[in-house]
Subunit: 335 residues, 2 copies
């Protein structure tokens, strides 16, 4: 295991210490628990947004805590849910009497803990709603969307709900726009190589030197198929076909694209994917509003990438275009 770390037991906390040290103007933590991260400046009276989940997916989650996106998040061990108490502590710290919206991915451990935190928060008089993201079309067929895993598409939900909350919208309004964003995004991923959980010390799964796994989850969950490596354009075609078949997105619709590296994929390759996606969308006469390329939701050193397509309407576009300023994601207002 060739990793830059000290004792694997301290991996998460040391990573969090380094994060707070790097972004002291934007991040801090509450309850003396470095796994309960909140925005440094919580003065604004507005609906608060929280997320959380296991470590190992940077910039998820604390990379998105800042202006225009999340107000806090709780972070668990690598690929492990944080506790409901940690979620509650974040909830109490960020609540401004306007209510709190939880936005998180569709994993049983996270659901259990967030729902428990929600009940505890309500006992303390904090109004909480939740939106569970399930954008990975490879993880369950159409018609069983509620069984799908949440992956990189959650970025769009943070961005849009965050911009909406900043306008002073009500908890109901922010929840509705988050649901709309979540319903309008589809993702499919591709893995080329596994990742290593520090405390385990060996790869989570194996792929042969010439194999790729279509639809593999960001914790190594099984995908649709294991195939031989093939040219980028063929891979992108296959992935885009799956998305366009699942998605109700048609000619003349407008979309935002997210091309997400899983951790070890060179940006050069992500841009070759960008070329393929743009060609397909042009052919299908789907208009591209903008394209994000980078690492938005990773699996540590896993090689591979995912494609997310967000179908836009005027309302979603307006919020997507607003500025954001977080440790990881910065955007000036889009034209």
């Amino acid at each position: 295991m060739k990793k830059i770390l000290n004792n694997p037991k301290n991996f998460v906390n040391e990573m969090l210490e380094g994060t707070i040290k790097a972004h002291p103007e934007q991040l801090t933590y509450v309850n003396n628990d470095i796994r309960c991260i909140v925005k440094k400046n919580l003065n604004k009276k507005k609906v608060a947004l929280a997320s959380g989940g296991g470590s190992g997916h940077l910039p998820l989650f604390m990379g998105y805590v800042g202006e225009g996106m999340l107000d806090g998040c709780s972070v668990g061990g690598v690929f492990q849910s944080p506790s409901s108490e940690q979620m509650l502590n974040v909830t109490k710290a960020i609540d401004k009497d306007e209510g709190v919206l939880y936005i998180y991915g569709n994993y049983s451990g996270d659901i259990l803990n967030f729902e428990m935190a929600m009940e505890m928060a309500e006992i303390e008089g904090i109004k909480v709603e939740q939106v569970i993201c399930a954008d990975d079309i490879a993880s369950a067929p159409k018609g069983e969307e509620n069984k799908r895993r949440g992956v990189a598409g959650i970025f769009f939900v943070y961005k849009i709900a965050g911009a909406c909350a900043d306008t002073g919208a009500s908890l109901k309004e922010v929840t509705e726009i988050a649901i709309k964003a979540s319903n309008n995004v589809r993702t499919i991923g591709l893995a080329l190589s596994p990742c290593v959980v520090p405390e385990v010390g060996k790869p989570l799964f194996a792929l042969k030197d010439d194999e790729i796994s279509l639809g593999m989850g960001i914790h190594g969950e099984p995908g649709i198929s294991i195939e031989k490596i093939k040219p980028a354009d063929e891979i992108v075609n296959e992935m885009m076909e799956a998305i366009l078949k699942d998605h109700e997105i048609n000619k003349n619709d407008e979309a935002s694209i997210l091309i997400n590296g899983l951790g070890a994929t060179p940006k050069e390759e992500l841009y070759i994917v960008s070329r393929g996606i743009h060609q397909i969308l042009e052919k299908n006469k789907i208009n591209v509003y903008n394209t994000y390329v980078g690492e938005f939701a990773t699996s540590m050193e896993m090689a591979g990438f995912s494609i997310s397509i967000l179908k836009l309407d005027e309302e979603l576009k307006e919020y997507l275009a607003k500025p954001a300023n977080t440790p990881f994601f910065k955007q000036f207002e889009l034209k």
Copy 2:
């Protein structure tokens, strides 16, 4: 070779096509040559900044073309210099009669071509100055700074010279601040695994499963030593000791930190490095102005990272703090 690409011969041009498609509001190209990238909006009358070099280092170079940084760049094959004609074409496209500053890394092929482009530009009546960055302390000892390679520290030179040029400063002034930034930055890198040049199809060098290479260059040039993997804090100590010994940076000085992933290193590990660096600087009473963490200058899928330390004064800090908006690097004004 498990890479996301089509024909390796088309790797660079397809990557560039995907880049232009992803960032059409910021980037375009001139002379019908996609390897001659310029800023979309070149209306502002100011000193123009150009860079360039081989492909395989994204976000170098076109990731920094945009507001507050570069006006153009020329891009060669993987790890190959672009031609002097390409550099000249970019120069002519971006010149606004205020002169052009070339900022590039200390590699013989790039020097040859940029100097030839400079001569050709001057024949055409364009005033050109150049700053050659040589921040990699591992590549030559103190006293032989002009033999050092240019690596990730060039980011600081782009940022600071770009902000200075935006104020309407003269070519002489922009050149002087770029030289100051370049003189004030020191970098050292560490490689854990090699990268694969697409047209070659196999790794550039080999490291054993338990080996790391301290000071290796971003094209696989030999480093200071090959060592057994050890705890992150020991590695960071060794690297920071080398930087602090080389750098004239003292107690109560102020610095900006850049922690740069070389391509395949998880962000989690970069933040563990961040923790180590901050501990050492605190111990040495060197004040940290800000910290950048991410991929700023890569070697495709090479695993490893580099640390750059920029010593600040009031003037450098003022320009570092200014906003920038490029495809890769976005910054709101720093407080």
